[in-house]
C-alpha cells in the first residue's frame, strides 16, 4: 500500500496525491468491518461500533490501518490542523496509537472526522465520504422522526430524553466521530448544530449501553411546550481518542417549506482544538426522512374500522380473511368515520445491511366529534395506536380547527406515476394551510395535486376517485364516480325490460328518527325523476373537470379510467352527496376491494348492480396479476351511506415494512 508522507495541504485530502488518496480509500475499505466481524471481534476501533448490529462502522483491522498515517483525513472532508494552519509537521497518528500529547506534549496532528451514511446504503464506509457535508436529494444521510413509542410508556420516543428499548436505539441514525488515536487529554472537540435544527432534533452519545442526550432539545416537551435547546457540546480528549458513536432522531418532520421554517436538515460540525489551537474540523449534513402517505397500492396488512355496525364489519371481515389481512375494530370512540379522523403513512431510513428502518405514522385530524380533549383524534391515536413502530403526529397549528375538508378522506394518494415514484398526494377543496404546507414540505409525494370538491356537501376527494392495481404499464387504473355511467346502466336495465324492478328493496331512507321510510324505487321512477336527473347531470359536469385534470396530470389513457355508476342528489345550497351507495368509495388492500352493497334490482336471485360492478372490476388486466380484482360487498347502507359516506370513509388501512416497493432513498426524497 502507498504510504503517505508528511503531506502539507491547505484543503485536507484534496491536497493529497492521487496515490495517497487511493491509499486512504484502501484503508477505509480495509477498515470497514462487517456486522459479523463487529460482533465477534474486538478490534482497535477507529469508529466506535454500535453494538446493536449496525453495519458499516469503521474498525481498524490488523494490517490495514497501520499502512496509513499522518496527513490522512479519514473522514475525507475534514481539515486537519496540519492543513489548516500548516504550523506544524508533527503528526497525529491515525493508527499506531501514539499519543502526541503524551511524552512530547506536541500538537497532535491528524484527521478530524465525522462519518454518516451519506450514500444511504446502510453501511458507513469510504463511499460515504464524498459530499457528506452537503445534503442533496440524491445524496446525504437520513434520520428518522422518532415518534413511535418503543417502550410503550405512552410517550413518543422523541418526546423524552431517554433512549429506551433496543428498538428505540435502532431508530437513531448513526454519526461517528472518528478516533483520533493520538489525541491528548488536553484536546477537546466541540460539536455544533444550528439553533433551528436543535429545536427539532436530539443527538445522543453512546457509552456502552447507555445513551446520553448531548445536543438538541432537552426536557419533556411537545408541540406547544418548547424544549430547552443545546447547540454545542464538548467531547473530551479521551473521547476523541477512542471515537464516539452518536445517534440522532428528529422530534418532528419537516413541517413547511417556508424560508423561516426548519428545512429538515442538520449540519453537525466538529471542531477540535488542542491547548487552544485548532487541529481541524469536519462537518456532516443530514435530513429528516419525509413522511409518506399510504395509498391504495401500498402493501396493506392492517384494516381498521369501528365495530358498531355488525353487517358492515361482517362484510369486511370476510374479505380480510380471504386476503389474509388483519382486521382490527374499535368501539369506545365516538367517530365511526375511520378514514377521516386519522391518516396512515410511514417514514423510513436505511437500516443495517440494506434493511429498512422505519415506522408507520398516523396523522391526526385537527377536530373531533366532541368538545373534550379526549374527543380529539390525537387522543384516540395516543391511546390506541401509538406503540412500537407506530408513531402519531399532528400537523395542525391548533386543535379544533378546520372542517370537513380536513378529514383525511379528502387527502388521498395518486399511485406512482411519472416523476412521483411514491405517488402524489391529491387534495380536494379547503384543507388547512399548515396541512398543505406539511405535505409539500415532505417533497417525496410532491406538491399536493388539487381538485375542486366544493360542490359536495362532505367535500372529499374520495367521493369521486379511487385507484386499483392493474397489470398495465402504469400499474394502476383510476376509478371515477360517474352519473353518466349510472344513467347508461339504468337505461340499459329499462331497455332489457327491468323498468319495474326496484332498487333499495328492504332499505330505509333514514336511520336517525323514529321512522324508517321504505327506500325502494323502480328503475323507471328513477329515470323519470326530473330533479334527480338534473342533479346527476350537474354532478357529472362537476366531476368531468376533476377527471380531466387527473387524466392530464398522470397521462392516463382512456382505458386507464373505469367509471363507477352513481347518482348525486343536491341538498339545497349545502351541496351534493351520493344518492345511491357510492361504490368508488371503496376499501382496497392488495388485489381485494370491498365496496358498498349497491342494493340494485334483484332478478333471478342476482343483484344486477353487483353484477355490473363485478363486470367492471373482476376482469383483466385489473389486479397485480392481471386476473381481475377480488370484489366483495358489505352492507353500509344504515351505518354509512345514510350518514353521507361509504366503505372507504368507514375504514382505514396501513402497511408494514418495507412499506413500499421502492425504498425512499432510492428516489428523490
Amino acid at each position: 500500500m502507498t504510504r503517505c508522507g508528511n503531506a502539507r495541504s491547505n484543503d485536507g485530502i484534496h491536497a493529497l496525491s492521487h496515490d495517497c488518496r487511493n491509499a486512504l480509500v484502501d484503508f477505509l475499505y480495509c477498515a470497514v468491518a462487517s456486522l459479523s466481524i463487529l460482533s465477534q471481534t474486538p478490534p482497535r476501533m477507529r469508529f466506535l461500533t454500535s453494538g446493536n448490529g449496525m453495519v458499516g462502522v469503521l474498525v481498524v483491522i490488523a494490517g490495514c490501518g497501520s499502512e496509513v498515517n499522518q496527513g490522512a483525513d479519514i473522514a475525507s472532508g475534514g481539515s486537519g490542523a496540519n492543513g489548516e494552519g500548516g504550523s506544524s509537521s508533527s503528526s497525529w497518528p491515525v493508527a499506531g496509537g501514539a499519543d502526541a500529547s503524551g511524552a512530547g506534549g506536541g500538537l497532535p496532528a491528524g484527521p478530524v472526522g465525522l462519518a454518516v451514511d451519506t450514500n444511504r446504503d446502510g453501511t458507513i464506509d469510504a463511499s460515504d465520504a464524498a459530499g457528506k457535508d452537503t445534503w442533496t436529494e440524491t445524496r446525504g444521510a437520513v434520520f428518522l422522526a422518532n415518534l413511535d413509542d418503543d417502550d410503550n410508556d405512552g410517550i413518543r420516543d422523541a418526546d423524552d430524553d431517554v433512549v429506551s428499548a433496543k428498538d428505540d436505539q435502532d431508530d437513531l441514525a448513526r454519526i461517528f466521530v472518528g478516533a483520533l488515536g493520538g489525541s491528548s487529554s488536553q484536546a477537546a472537540g466541540v460539536l455544533t448544530i444550528g439553533e433551528q435544527a436543535a429545536e427539532n432534533v436530539r443527538i445522543f452519545r453512546r457509552t456502552g449501553d447507555d445513551w446520553t442526550l448531548l445536543l438538541g432539545s432537552f426536557g419533556e416537551c411537545d408541540k406547544w411546550t418548547p424544549c430547552d435547546v443545546v447547540t454545542t457540546a464538548t467531547l473530551s480528549g479521551d473521547e476523541l481518542a477512542s471515537g464516539v458513536e452518536l445517534g440522532i432522531e428528529a422530534r418532528s418532520f419537516r413541517m413547511s417549506s417556508d424560508a423561516e421554517a426548519w428545512d429538515g436538515q442538520v449540519r453537525l460540525t466538529l471542531d477540535v482544538a488542542h491547548k487552544g489551537e485548532s487541529m481541524g474540523s469536519d462537518a456532516v449534513a443530514l435530513r429528516v426522512a419525509p413522511w409518506l402517505l399510504f395509498g391504495n397500492l401500498s402493501p396493506h396488512d392492517q384494516i381498521w374500522s369501528h365495530r358498531f355496525s355488525e353487517e358492515f364489519v361482517d362484510g369486511i371481515d370476510i374479505a380480510a380473511a380471504a386476503a389474509g389481512v388483519s382486521y382490527r375494530t374499535y368501539g369506545a370512540y365516538n367517530d365511526i368515520w375511520t378514514q377521516d379522523f386519522f391518516q396512515t403513512g410511514w417514514t423510513a431510513m436505511p437500516g443495517p445491511g440494506g434493511t429498512v428502518q422505519g415506522m408507520r405514522v398516523a396523522n391526526a385530524r385537527p377536530w373531533g366529534r366532541g368538545n373534550d380533549d379526549e374527543d380529539l383524534p390525537i387522543a384516540w391515536l395516543t391511546e390506541n395506536y401509538l406503540g412500537p413502530e407506530r408513531a402519531v403526529i399532528e400537523t395542525y397549528n391548533e386543535p379544533n380547527t378546520g372542517d370537513s375538508y380536513d378529514s383525511h378522506g379528502n387527502h388521498d394518494l395518486l399511485p406512482p406515476y411519472g416523476s412521483f415514484p411514491h405517488g402524489r398526494i391529491i387534495l380536494g377543496s379547503g384543507v388547512l394551510d399548515e396541512t398543505v404546507a406539511f405535505y409539500a414540505a415532505q417533497g417525496a409525494q410532491g406538491e399536493p395535486f388539487r381538485v375542486d370538491t366544493s360542490w359536495l356537501i362532505v367535500g372529499h376527494v374520495d367521493e369521486v376517485f379511487s385507484y386499483v392495481p392493474a397489470q398495465t404499464p402504469l400499474g394502476w387504473k383510476l376509478l371515477v364516480h360517474s352519473p353518466s355511467a349510472m344513467i347508461t346502466f339504468l337505461e340499459g336495465l329499462k331497455s332489457a325490460g327491468h323498468g319495474s324492478e326496484k332498487f333499495f328493496v328492504g332499505k330505509g331512507r333514514y336511520n336517525n328518527s323514529d321512522q324508517y321510510v321504505n327506500a325502494a324505487v323502480t328503475v323507471s321512477d328513477i329515470l323519470d325523476d326530473e330533479d334527480l336527473m338534473a342533479w346527476a347531470q350537474e354532478a357529472q359536469e362537476q366531476i368531468q373537470p376533476m377527471r380531466d385534470a387527473v387524466v392530464a396530470e398522470v397521462g392516463l389513457e382512456a382505458s386507464d379510467v373505469i367509471e363507477i355508476p352513481v347518482f348525486f342528489e343536491q341538498m339545497g345550497d349545502w351541496g351534493n352527496v351520493a344518492w345511491n351507495p357510492g361504490d368508488a368509495n371503496l376499501l382496497a388492500f392488495g388485489d381485494t376491494i370491498v365496496m358498498a352493497k349497491p342494493f340494485g334490482p334483484n332478478v333471478d336471485g342476482a343483484d344486477l348492480f353487483e353484477a355490473d360492478l363485478i363486470g367492471r372490476l373482476a376482469v383483466a388486466p385489473l389486479g397485480s396479476t392481471g386476473n381481475g380484482l377480488q370484489v366483495f360487498f358489505t352492507d353500509d347502507w344504515d351505518a354509512y351511506h345514510l350518514g353521507m359516506g361509504e366503505v372507504h370513509c368507514g375504514s382505514n388501512t396501513e402497511a408494514s415494512a418495507p412499506y413500499s416497493k421502492k425504498p425512499l432513498w432510492e428516489v428523490s426524497p
Partner: protein
C-alpha cells in the same frame, strides 16, 4: 306557535332567530288561501296524523341527528324527501301556522338548515298547495338568502307565467341569486326566455350564476325525465338557452368554464352549430370554440 315565531324569523326578518312576527307571512298570503290551507291541514291531521308525526320525527337538524354524519352539519333534505308528498301539508303547517313542539328549541344554525330544507323539499313536491307559502316567503323581507333561494326554486319548479315573472322581478336586485336559483328550475319556454335575456347583459359572477341556471333549466337529462310529451318544449328551451350561452361565451373571459358546463348540460345540437358559426366568424376564438363544440357533440 313557538316554531312559527322562530322559523319565520329566519325567513322574513333579519336578526336573530325568533324575532319575526307571524303576521309577516299572513300579510303576504291571501286570506282565502290561509283559510283553505288551514281547513285542509285540519282534515289531513284528523285523517292522517302519521303524516304530521312523520315530519315531527325528523332529526337531521338536531345535533344528535347530524353529529355522527360524515360532515356534521344540519341537513334535513333526505328525511323530508323520504316522507314523500304526504308531507306537503305538514310542512305547510310547520312553515306558516304551527310547528311541532319538538322544534321549539333549536340553535340559529340548525334552524336555518331546517327552514331551508322544509322550503326546498316543499318545492320539490311540485304541489299547488305549496305555492301560496312559497310566494309569501319569496315576497317577504329577505332575511336568509338560503331560504329565499329555496322558495325561489320551489316557484321555479311550478313555473307558471306568474311565477316566472315573480322570479324575473328579482333579477338585478338584492334577490338576484335567489331569482336565478329559481329560474334554474323553471323548465318552460317563458322561463328560458327570461333567463336568455338575463344572460345577454351579464358579466362576471352574475353571468356565471345565470349560466349555471341555464344549464339546470336546459338539463338534457331532466328533459328526458319529463317525458316524450314535453320533448318539443324541451327542444325549444334548450335551443333558446344554448344560443344565449354561446353568445355569452363569445364575449366572456373568466366566465367561460361556467358557461361551458351549462352548455354541456343543455347538450343541444344548436349549441354545437352556434359554436361552429362563432369559430368561423371570429378566427381568434376558432380553436377554443371548436374544442368546446367537440366536447358538446359528445354529450347527450
Amino acid at each position: 306557535m313557538k316554531f312559527v315565531f322562530a322559523t319565520l324569523a329566519a325567513v322574513f326578518v333579519s336578526g336573530p332567530a325568533g324575532a319575526a312576527p307571524r303576521l309577516s307571512i299572513a300579510s303576504a298570503m291571501p286570506e282565502a288561501e290561509i283559510v283553505h290551507l288551514k281547513r285542509e291541514i285540519a282534515d289531513a291531521r284528523r285523517a292522517h296524523p302519521e303524516w304530521f308525526a312523520g315530519l315531527a320525527a325528523i332529526r337531521g337538524f338536531t345535533p344528535e341527528g347530524y353529529a355522527m354524519n360524515r360532515n356534521p352539519v344540519p341537513v334535513v333534505h333526505p328525511e323530508l324527501r323520504a316522507l314523500g308528498k304526504n308531507a306537503v301539508l305538514p310542512i305547510v303547517e310547520a312553515l306558516a301556522f304551527k310547528a311541532p313542539d319538538a322544534w321549539a328549541t333549536v340553535s340559529a344554525r340548525d334552524e336555518a338548515a331546517l327552514n331551508e330544507g322544509l322550503i326546498d323539499v316543499l318545492g320539490e313536491f311540485r304541489d299547488q298547495r305549496a305555492v301560496p307559502v312559497l310566494r309569501a316567503i319569496w315576497q317577504g323581507a329577505p332575511a336568509s338568502m338560503a331560504a329565499s333561494k329555496a322558495a325561489a326554486r320551489g316557484l321555479g319548479r311550478q313555473c307558471s307565467e306568474q311565477n316566472a315573472q315573480l322570479l324575473a322581478s328579482g333579477l338585478g336586485t338584492d334577490r338576484e341569486s335567489a331569482a336565478v336559483s329559481g329560474l334554474g328550475q323553471c323548465r318552460t319556454v317563458i322561463g328560458a326566455q327570461v333567463l336568455a335575456r338575463a344572460i345577454a347583459d351579464a358579466r362576471g359572477r352574475t353571468l356565471e350564476e345565470r349560466a349555471r341556471a341555464a344549464g339546470q333549466a336546459g338539463s338534457s337529462w331532466a328533459w328526458r325525465a319529463k317525458g316524450a310529451s314535453l320533448a318539443a318544449e324541451g327542444e325549444q328551451v334548450r335551443a333558446t338557452l344554448s344560443n344565449a350561452l354561446v353568445a355569452a361565451w363569445g364575449r366572456a373571459d373568466t366566465e367561460r368554464p361556467a358557461i361551458e358546463k351549462a352548455l354541456m348540460m343543455n347538450a343541444h345540437a344548436s349549441g354545437v352549430a352556434a359554436l361552429e358559426r362563432l369559430a368561423a366568424d371570429r378566427p381568434a376564438l376558432a380553436v377554443a370554440a371548436r374544442k368546446v363544440a367537440s366536447a358538446l357533440a359528445q354529450r347527450k
